[in-house]
C-alpha cells in the first residue's frame, strides 16, 4: 500500500516510540483503576494514543492503527462521561493493551502486520455501545471492592513528591529540547574511543620516559611528560563522564512490574501489594538490559510460591493482602536489589529432602538450614514441587543465578518459614570496567576478574596431593581442587617450571585453584564482548580486553571453572598437535 518498504531502522524507531506510548497507556489504566476516573489521566493518555495511531498509519500497519483509534474512542467516551469503566471493562482494556503490544512487537519484527486485532476491536466496540451508567454511579473500581493490586504510596510509583498522577506520563510530555536521544551503540563507541585514547596516552608516557634518558632531551622530555599528564587528567574525566552517561535509573526496569504483579495476582486469585523503592538508583544500561528477566522470574516466584491465598493468610493471622517489596540501593561500588515478600517462606526441611533425592546432598551432610536453602539455585532443582509441594508455574532459579552471574553479580536468599522470603541481588555498577588479575599461562597472558579471586599463593610441589586422580591443594583447613590452565587450554606445559602459582577462585563457598606460571599484577580493564562465534569454544571466556600496547588479552569466565564434569574431560584430554 505504501510506496516504500519500512527499513529495519524505521521499524526500530517505530517500536521504541510505540513502547513508550504503550507504557503510558498501561500507566493510565492502572491509575484509573486505582483512583477512579481522573480526567487528567485520561487526557494524558490521549496524546500518546494519537501519536501511536499516526505512526502506525505512516509505517503501514493499518490494522494496528484502526485498533488504536478504537481505544481512543473508548477514552474519548470516558472523558465525555458517556462511558463508565467497571472491573470487567478494565480487564478487557488491559487485555486489549496486551494484545496491542503483542501485535506491535510482532509487526515490528516482521516488517508487516502478522496478528489480527479484529476480535479485540469488536470487543471494545461492543463495550462502547453498551448502555453507559451516569458517572456518579460508576464508582471507581477502588471504592467498594477490595483491589487485587494497589500501589501503597504515590511516591513509590512516581518520582514526583506529591500528587497521584504518575509523572512518567508528564515526562513524556515535557519534551524539552535540552534532552537528546542517543543510541546506546554510540555510547559504546565513545567508550571504545576513550579506551584507545588511554592506550595512546600510555605510549606517549613511555616515549617521554625514554626521551628523558637521552642527554640533551631532558627538558623537552619534561615538557612532554607534563603535557601528557594533562592529557591523562582529561581522558580520565572523559572516561568517568562516559561511564556516567551510560548509567540510567533502575526505574526503567521497575516500571513494568506494577502491571505484572497486578496481572499475576488476578491470575492466581491472590491479593498483592507491590511497593517499589529506590527507583532512582542508577546502574549501567548494559546491566539494565539484562536484569529485567531475572527480576521477573523472582517476582513470579514470590507470587506463585511466596504469597499465600487470602483465606490462608487470614487463617495464619496475616493480612489478606500480601506485600512484595522491590528495592534498589547503592552501596559503595555495588547496587543491591532486594525482592522481599511476607509470604510462606521456604522450608529448609523440604529443600533438604528434595536435594537428597536429586543427589545434590548426602543425607548426613551437615549443612546449616541457611546454606541448604541456597540449594534452590542449583541446576535441575525445580522449585515447583520442591518448596511448597504445589506444582505450579515454577521458574528455574538456576537460570536466574546464571543470568546474574553473567553480569558479575551475586544472589542469595534469606527466609523464615511462615514469615517471608528475601532475595538479595548484588550487581556491579558497571559491566564495562572491572579489576582484573593478569596472569601468564605458558607464555600467554590472560585476565581473571579480581572480584572472584580469593587469594593467590606460590605453589610448592610438596603441597599438592593427588586424590582420586585429581590434583588438590590444602589451604588452611580446606581441600581445594586444582586446574592446570595450560592443560585446560591445550598449551604446552612448562617442564619443571621454577615457579608456579595457584590463584584461588571462589564462587559462593566453592573454591577452585587455577595453576599459572606468572602473576603479572592487577589492573583495571575495559571489557570487550567476544563475538558469539568465539564464545562457542570449549573453554569459556567472559570477554577480552585490550592492553596498552594493543595486545588482546582474554578474560576467563570464572563461573565455567566450576562446571566440574565438563572441565574434567578437557583437563584430561591431551592437547591437539600444535603447529610449528
Amino acid at each position: 500500500m505504501s510506496d516504500f518498504q519500512a527499513s529495519p531502522e524505521l521499524l526500530a524507531i517505530y517500536l521504541e516510540d510505540a513502547r513508550q506510548h504503550l507504557e503510558a497507556l498501561d500507566h493510565c489504566l492502572l491509575t484509573l483503576e486505582r483512583e477512579g476516573t481522573d480526567p487528567e489521566a485520561v487526557t494524558a493518555v490521549l496524546g500518546p494514543l494519537h501519536t501511536l495511531k499516526g505512526n502506525s498509519g505512516m509505517i503501514g500497519f493499518a490494522g494496528i492503527k484502526d485498533y488504536v483509534h478504537r481505544i481512543e474512542d473508548v477514552f474519548a467516551r470516558v472523558q465525555e462521561g458517556a462511558l463508565a469503566l467497571d472491573r470487567e471493562a478494565f480487564d478487557r482494556l488491559f487485555a486489549g493493551a496486551t494484545a496491542l503490544r503483542d501485535a506491535i512487537e510482532q509487526a515490528s519484527r516482521e516488517g508487516r502486520e502478522v496478528r489480527s486485532l479484529a476480535a479485540e476491536d469488536a470487543d471494545l466496540q461492543r463495550m462502547c455501545m453498551s448502555e453507559a451508567a451516569p458517572l456518579s454511579e460508576a464508582a471507581p473500581a477502588a471504592a467498594s471492592v477490595a483491589l487485587p493490586m494497589s500501589v501503597a504510596s504515590a511516591s513509590a510509583v512516581s518520582p514526583a513528591p506529591a500528587g497521584p498522577r504518575p509523572s512518567r506520563i508528564e515526562s513524556h510530555y515535557t519534551a524539552r529540547s535540552s534532552v537528546v536521544r542517543v543510541e546506546f551503540a554510540q555510547l559504546d563507541h565513545l567508550l571504545n574511543l576513550v579506551g584507545e585514547l588511554i592506550i595512546h596516552r600510555t605510549k606517549l608516557q613511555e616515549l617521554g620516559r625514554a626521551l628523558a634518558e637521552m642527554p640533551g632531551a631532558r627538558e623537552a622530555a619534561r615538557d612532554l611528560l607534563s603535557a601528557v599528564h594533562q592529557v591523562a587528567g582529561v581522558s580520565q574525566q572523559l572516561q568517568e563522564t562516559v561511564m556516567d552517561v551510560r548509567m540510567l535509573p533502575i526505574r526503567h526496569v521497575f516500571e513494568r512490574f506494577p502491571r505484572l504483579v497486578r496481572d499475576l495476582a488476578r491470575e492466581t486469585g491472590k491479593e498483592i501489594e507491590l511497593i517499589l523503592e529506590g527507583e532512582g538508583t542508577r546502574i549501567d544500561k548494559a546491566i539494565i538490559d539484562e536484569i529485567g528477566e531475572p527480576l521477573v522470574h523472582l517476582i513470579r516466584n514470590s507470587v506463585d510460591h511466596g504469597i499465600e491465598p487470602p483465606a490462608l493468610r487470614v487463617t495464619n493471622g496475616k493480612t489478606p493482602t500480601g506485600t512484595i517489596l522491590l528495592s534498589a540501593t547503592q552501596e559503595s561500588n555495588h547496587v543491591v536489589i532486594t525482592i522481599m515478600d511476607d509470604g510462606a517462606g521456604i522450608d529448609a526441611g523440604t529443600v533438604r529432602r528434595k536435594a537428597v533425592e536429586r543427589g545434590l546432598l548426602k543425607a548426613d551432610d551437615a549443612l546449616s538450614d541457611r546454606d541448604v536453602v541456597q540449594l534452590i539455585f542449583s541446576q535441575g532443582f525445580s522449585t515447583r514441587e520442591a518448596i511448597t509441594g504445589v506444582s505450579g508455574r515454577g521458574v528455574g532459579l538456576d537460570v536466574v543465578l546464571k543470568s546474574i552471574e553473567r553480569l558479575n553479580g551475586l544472589v542469595e536468599v534469606e527466609t523464615v518459614p511462615g514469615v517471608g522470603t528475601k532475595f538479595i541481588i548484588q550487581l556491579p555498577l558497571t559491566l564495562a570496567i572491572i579489576s582484573a588479575l593478569l596472569v601468564d599461562v605458558t607464555d600467554r597472558t590472560y585476565a581473571i576478574p579480581l572480584g572472584s579471586v580469593v587469594e593467590s599463593i606460590q605453589l610448592r610441589g610438596a603441597e599438592v596431593h593427588t586424590i582420586n586422580g585429581r590434583e588438590t591443594l590444602r589451604i588452611r583447613e580446606r581441600i581445594v581442587p586444582l586446574l592446570r590452565l595450560a592443560r585446560l587450554f591445550g598449551l604446552p606445559e612448562k617442564e619443571q617450571a621454577e615457579r608456579e602459582y595457584a590463584v584461588i577462585i571462589g564462587r559462593g563457598d566453592k573454591r577452585v585453584g587455577v595453576v599459572v606460571n606468572r602473576l603479572r599484577g592487577q589492573q583495571e580493564v575495559v571489557i570487550k564482548a567476544l563475538d558469539p562465534a568465539v564464545s562457542g569454544a570449549e573453554v569459556a571466556m567472559a570477554g577480552a580486553t585490550i592492553m596498552g600496547d594493543g595486545r588482546v588479552v582474554l578474560i576467563l569466565d570464572v563461573a565455567s571453572l566450576f562446571d566440574g564434569k565438563r572441565l574434567a574431560t578437557l583437563h584430561g584430554r591431551r592437547p591437539p598437535a600444535l603447529e610449528a
Partner: protein
C-alpha cells in the same frame, strides 16, 4: 491558545477531506458547503467535499527536483560489485557491500580450544573480532601467515568477522551476464557455499555465498545446543 481538539458530540459526523489538497481549493469548496470552521457546534454530518481529480504532476515539471532514482537502480542491476581474494591459486569473490575493509595480518590472539578454523581474535581499532581461516573452513588446507596474507573484514547482520585469506585481489564490477552456476569440476569446495562463477577473459572468479559459508558462525546464540 487554541484547544487542540474542539470535539463535541459524536465523532462520526465529521468533515471528510480528501487525502491532500491546496488551501485555495479546499476553502473555496468549504465556503460553498457552508462549513463553519470555528463554530463550536458540530458540522453538518457527513459532508463530503469532492475529491480534486488532478493526479500528481508528471516528470516534466521537476525542473528543480532531482532526477527520479528509479533509472539509476535499473543500471545497477546489470552488474555485480565484487571484492575478490585468493585462496591458493583460485580467485574468490564476495559482494563488496559486506566487505568493510581488507587489512594486513596483525597479531592474532589464539583462543583456547576453539574450532580449528578459528584462528583467534584481533584488535581492530578497539573492537575485538574473530579471525576465521577460510581455507580451513572450506576444507582447503590452511592459510600460511605469509607477507601477502590478508584479513578480509566483513560485516554480516551487524557482526564483524575477519576472514584470513592467502592474498587480496581487487574490487571490480562484473556484468551479470558473465555469471553462471558453478560447474562441479571447478572447485573442491562444498557446493553450497558457492553461488556461481564469473567468467572473465583469462580469469574465473568463484562467487562465494558468505551467509551460507559462515552459517554456523552466524547462527543466533539461542540456537546453540549445549
Amino acid at each position: 491558545m487554541f484547544p487542540a481538539d474542539a470535539e463535541t458530540g459524536e465523532r462520526r459526523g465529521r468533515i471528510e477531506l480528501p487525502a491532500s489538497g491546496l488551501a485555495a481549493d479546499i476553502l473555496a469548496l468549504a465556503d460553498a458547503a457552508a462549513v463553519p470552521a470555528t463554530a463550536p457546534t458540530r458540522p453538518a454530518p457527513a459532508d463530503a467535499l469532492p475529491v480534486p481529480a488532478e493526479p500528481a504532476p508528471r516528470a516534466h515539471n521537476i525542473s528543480f527536483f532531482a532526477a527520479p532514482v528509479r533509472e539509476e537502480r535499473k543500471a545497477a542491476e546489470a552488474t555485480e560489485h565484487l571484492a575478490t581474494f585468493f585462496l591458493a591459486s583460485e580467485e574468490y569473490g564476495v559482494d563488496v557491500r559486506v566487505v568493510q575493509e581488507i587489512i594486513r595480518v596483525t597479531e592474532i590472539t589464539q583462543v583456547p580450544r576453539a574450532p580449528d578454523f578459528i584462528k583467534g581474535v584481533i584488535n581492530l581499532r578497539g573492537r575485538i573480532i574473530p579471525v576465521i581461516d577460510l581455507k580451513r573452513k572450506l576444507g582447503l588446507g590452511e592459510v600460511a601467515l605469509a607477507r601477502q596474507a590478508r584479513i578480509v573484514v566483513v560485516k554480516i547482520r551487524e557482526r564483524l568477522l575477519g576472514l584470513l585469506v592467502d592474498g587480496a585481489s581487487q574490487v571490480l564490477k562484473v556484468p551479470v551476464s558473465s555469471i553462471e552456476a558453478a560447474p562441479e569440476e571447478v572447485t573442491e569446495v562444498d557446493a553450497t557455499a558457492v553461488r556461481g562463477v564469473a567468467k572473465l577473459p583469462g580469469r574465473l572468479i568463484i562467487l562465494m555465498d558468505l551467509g551460507r559459508t559462515l552459517s554456523l558462525e552466524l547462527r543466533d546464540q539461542e540456537g546453540e545446543a549445549e
